[in-house]
Subunit: 223 residues, 2 copies
DNA sequence: ACCTGAACACCGTTCAAGT
DNA sequence: ACCTGAACACCGTTCAAGT
């Protein structure tokens, strides 16, 4: 404890200026280390050593803060994606970029599935669409395929976010194993497929599984 | 006002018994008429003329309540689906059943995207899987395709839920039009595809668009 | 066994007041 | 212009106490 004097009057103004970037940065830190539910304005003010009003001066509300954080993470993930001239491979690379970002930051998945039409998705959509056009797909097919791929990505996003909302010691594969166990106890006469699905769920590789879905959609595209 | 006498002592026990079914029923009413955000325990207690504890006697928590409500709506939607012997057509019918349920009750979309692995999804998964098997797809292809279709459905669910969370006077098509307008104002050199996408977004038919995505995935299935 | 309703432990957000 | 921090208007959930 450095400041000794009894502080009866209000604290003086902070020296290092606050900024939206700084706030977003700390928000990402909290989200990554302690999870979605730990990001509260109280946690932020404590970490930033300030008051709630100071944060609201830089950021309109929590939704904007989460959107900015998501834009940050997803934006830099998209910036890392390199096309290699092959449209299908590039689409896979974009999809994997989103996948890996969500895998590393499950709260991004929550935010995307809560607010799908946010700025962070623009580079993703643009990237996918450009490749679909390069593939020679018709305007209509470009629209349909881009929509389908987007929905697929968002669906996956939600699943990751859901797994991340569980108690912190259970990771995703442990969670899936628990789901599998539960499903295996269902009446197998009524749910034969779910039974088989559960068994496969146990051993599956998330990333591989995800790519298989992307390929399935890509395979359906004429052209 | 019927009861005139000054009520100083606590109200006597209610005559008509409470039950989980009754609670779920009222919850669905609130969700349908006033939206997701209107479902609070305070609203429920007011509508059921009881205390919070009474609800907790029948239902573990809000998450269970929402799961039960979702199970109800989706369950009866699935019960209405009739197969006609053609696997692909039946899968489309199942998917449309989910779509229509979400369209009519957007909060179902929110719940599904928040908790994808809930009981309500079992009949959906089982139905899809059964048809994929009938289609002669390999075990692996059944697993991949069912997963992809599920993720696609969940992605769509999230999008509907997001649109429903907006101020109540804006319906989904008005919302999409607003998104389109916003995207059309983007730098068209940087986002050429998003521009074209926005234009199509305006005139598109949700249901048709949804089916196009299902067909795209189905088309990719070998067999 | 079932219900009552006050109380608890949180939230996001606002705002008068300070520098 | 930027920040402080108490206060407001909510939540879901708990629990001692009633019938």
């Amino acid at each position: 404890m450095v400041c000794v004097a009894t502080r009866k009057q209000r604290a003086e103004r902070r020296a290092d200026a606050l900024s939206k970037d700084r706030i977003v940065e700390v928000a990402i830190e909290i989200l990554d280390t302690e999870g979605e539910s730990a990001l509260t304005f109280r946690a932020l003010t404590a970490r930033l050593d300030t008051g709630a009003g100071a944060i609201y001066w830089h950021v309109a509300n929590k939704s904007e803060l989460l959107a900015a954080a998501t834009d940050d993470v997803l934006g830099s993930a998209m910036a890392r994606v390199r096309g290699d001239g092959d449209p299908r491979r590039t689409i896979r690379a974009i999809a994997l970029g989103v996948f890996d970002a969500i895998d590393a930051h499950p709260w991004v998945g929550a935010q995307l599935s809560r607010e799908p039409w946010q700025p962070a998705m623009l580079p993703v959509l643009e990237g996918i669409g450009t490749q679909l056009a390069a593939l020679g797909a018709s305007e209509r097919a470009q629209f349909d395929s881009a929509s389908a791929l987007l929905s697929y990505l968002l669906g996956l996003a939600g699943q990751y976010a859901a797994a991340a909302r569980l108690p912190r010691d259970t990771d995703r594969s442990a969670f899936l194993a628990a789901v599998a166990t539960q499903w295996e106890q269902l009446d197998s006469a009524r749910y034969p497929f779910v039974h088989r699905f559960a068994t496969r769920l146990r051993g599956h590789d998330d990333r591989e599984q995800f790519l298989a879905g992307v390929d399935l959609i890509l395979a359906g595209i004429a052209g």
